[in-house]
């Protein structure tokens, strides 16, 4: 069995994919079944289950300390779960050490070996699985071509820029053609502009290689832009799993709504399709009667135009900030506060304490499903 695995490792990438795809294309590549991790009294991850489907880019998103990195490290094998099982390509790997797991990881610090050249860094994994020298050289070349760094083979990591180091780390992880690529906050060491450019490059690269990817970040923008699906984690538990659009437009919990993007959250009661907030603001909503939490995303709120036919709300501007492409206003209406994001023509941005008339696109008013009673 093991010899067969190694044989597969050594043959071409496509061959391997066809082979494993032939086995069962719909089976998840990574599967976590009820994993928990406790450090003393601290519950880092609690009874967490999720599947990473073949070829998808799944993102674990949450605030720092929420357990997302611990979860990633349990997949890689650096952290042993207190309970539950980890499956990679259908095999239970919970008891296997990291060097027997078919994963390729890019560390937050990249962890390139400082005493080895870029070429040697990439060849290291291939050496470990016994790929012969000529094949190794060919594969290193192939990887460097993939990340467009062929001219840097003989350089040392410290001679490279942060962005180049990241690409080498990626090439090193991909050289072994792992079943799953693990990325641990790969952009956190880069400055803001570079970050935006590199994540677009990363997405293109991952699409080109077509590899299943599990990605950890605390940056919601990164998650929304890169992922096929997002898993929002808070305090070691999953809050919501869904596409970026699901997560943003239809948050399942108050935490998700507040963590992803800006929004106004109102508590109140629904009766007959009308929501009345505790402060007294009335809004139309499509939700069952009873106590309800409402989320309104700021881009659905607009200043009133001549004739839109929607009900108008009159309020007072509490704060008004200019961000260039748009302005962000906080408006006090009927004892509540609503956030609004919109572009005003030059000179037309309302000042603090101005009266303002707004309308809300009904699509942007959403009720958060009531949490189960026992939680």
């Amino acid at each position: 069995m093991k010899a067969a695995n190694q044989k597969v490792e050594q043959t071409a990438f496509d061959e391997k994919r066809t082979l494993s795809a032939g086995a069962d294309a719909s089976a998840p590549v990574v599967s976590l079944r009820g994993i928990s991790k406790t450090y003393g009294d601290f519950l880092a991850v609690e009874n967490l289950s999720l599947d990473v489907k073949r070829g998808e880019l799944l993102c674990l998103l949450g605030p720092s300390g929420c357990g997302k990195t611990t979860t990633l490290r349990m997949v890689a094998g650096f952290v042993e779960p207190t309970a539950g099982s980890v499956y990679i390509s259908g095999q239970d790997v919970t008891a296997l050490p990291p060097y027997r797991r078919d994963t390729g990881m890019v560390f937050q610090s990249y962890a390139l070996f400082p005493h080895m050249t870029i070429g040697a860094n990439i060849a290291f994994g291939l050496e470990n699985i016994g790929v012969p020298k000529t094949e190794r050289a060919r594969r290193v070349e192939e990887m460097l071509t993939l990340v467009e760094l062929t001219e840097l083979t003989h350089r040392y990591p410290r001679e490279l820029s942060g962005g180049q180091q990241q690409r080498v780390a990626l090439a090193r992880a991909l050289a072994l053609r792992p079943a799953v690529l693990l990325l641990d906050e790969p952009f956190s060491n880069l400055d803001a502009q570079l970050r935006v450019r590199l994540r677009e490059e990363l997405r293109l690269l991952i699409d080109r290689v077509d590899i299943t990817t599990l990605f950890v970040t605390h940056d919601q923008e990164e998650a929304l832009m890169l992922s096929d699906r997002i898993v929002v984690i808070n305090r070691g538990k999953i809050e919501q799993i869904g596409t970026p659009e699901d997560i943003y437009e239809r948050p399942a919990t108050r935490f998700v709504a507040e963590f992803i993007g800006w929004c106004s959250i109102l508590e109140g009661v629904v009766s007959n399709g009308t929501f009345v907030s505790s402060g007294g603001l009335t809004l139309p909503v499509n939700a069952a009667a009873g106590p309800t939490t409402i989320v309104v995303r700021p881009e659905y709120i607009k200043p009133v135009t001549a004739s839109s036919g929607r009900s108008r709300l009159s309020g007072r501007v509490e704060s008004s900030n200019y961000y260039g492409a748009m302005s962000r206003l906080s408006i006090a209406i009927d004892g509540e506060k609503l956030l609004m994001e919109t572009h005003f023509p030059p000179g037309a941005r309302p000042a603090v304490d101005d009266a303002i008339e707004i309308e809300i696109d009904p699509v942007g008013i959403r009720a958060i499903p009531a949490p189960p009673k026992n939680s």
Binding site: Y99, M105, G125, N128, A173
Partner: protein, 266 residues
């Protein structure tokens, strides 16, 4: 104003003290080297004339050459053993949180604190109880003991600074533990290993107290040989032998410097 005055005062004091310190450090060695070239019969500074006769005498002297060899051999083996034990201890201290870890660390460093005479006396009794006194093994045990603190100190300091994500990255790249040690950890703490060996070698090579306590008729170490020689004669052969030792030490340090230097550049 007052701060300025203090600053100026300290600066002047420094300018005076610094050369004095360097002078005190270098002068004894310089005097020995200069004296070794004397043509006269006695160990005296300034030397009388110039000749290499005492070098010839030193090289032809069996006791000195034998003891030089004995010291080198002893220091070499002691260094190897000390590195092996010290590396294992440093790993344990750095990587694991076990009961008595602090006590263990203190224990490995304690030979530095215990006066050498006390250590020598204790070892003498211990070794004779073990039936190991007056043997090379006994002398070696003593030397490993006194070199160990330097090795553990240097290596733990280096391991604390070692980025363990590198080991995890290697593990992720299918490297089993022994391979990680060999390809990642050891090469990266290489400079510390080299300086630990130099410390250990020099400490063992220059030690006299312990060697007197644990020495035996068969093999005398160089410091002991010099020490006993001085008791009855005082001729320039000592200066010649010492100069040879200084030269060898300088060569070793130069080689090491070059090796470690290259490690940092590469």
């Amino acid at each position: 104003m007052r701060i300025d005055a203090i600053d100026v005062g300290l600066k002047i004091a420094g300018a005076i003290v610094r050369p004095l310190v360097y002078l005190t450090l270098c002068l004894p060695a310089a005097i020995v080297v200069v004296t070794s070239f004397t043509a006269g019969e006695s160990l005296r500074f300034p030397p009388e004339g110039f000749s290499l006769r005492w070098y010839q005498a030193a090289i032809n002297s069996e006791p000195f050459m034998d003891s030089l060899w004995a010291s080198t051999k002893l220091a070499f083996i002691a260094t190897i053993l000390s590195l092996a034990i010290g590396l294992a201890s440093s790993f344990a201290i750095d990587r694991f949180r076990f009961r008595g870890r602090e006590a263990f660390r203190t224990l490995t460093l304690s030979p530095l604190v215990v006066p050498m005479v006390v250590l020598g006396l204790g070892l003498l009794q211990f070794l004779s109880w073990m039936q190991l006194n007056q043997t090379f093994a006994g002398l070696l045990i003593g030397h490993v003991l006194i070199t160990l603190p330097y090795v553990v100190r240097t290596l733990t300091a280096s391991l604390v600074l070692f980025d363990r994500t590198l080991e995890q990255a290697a593990m992720n790249l299918r490297a089993p533990p022994w391979r990680i040690l060999w390809r990642i950890t050891l090469p990266l703490i290489g400079p510390a290993l080299v300086s630990a060996s130099v410390f250990a070698f020099v400490t063992s090579f220059g030690n006299i107290t312990l060697s007197i306590f644990l020495g035996f008729a068969g093999e005398t170490t160089l410091p002991v040989q010099i020490f006993t020689y001085v008791e009855h004669s005082y001729d320039p052969i000592l200066a010649a032998v010492s100069t040879i030792v200084i030269l060898v030490t300088l060569i070793v340090i130069a080689i090491v410097e070059k090796l470690v230097g290259m490690e940092t550049v590469a």
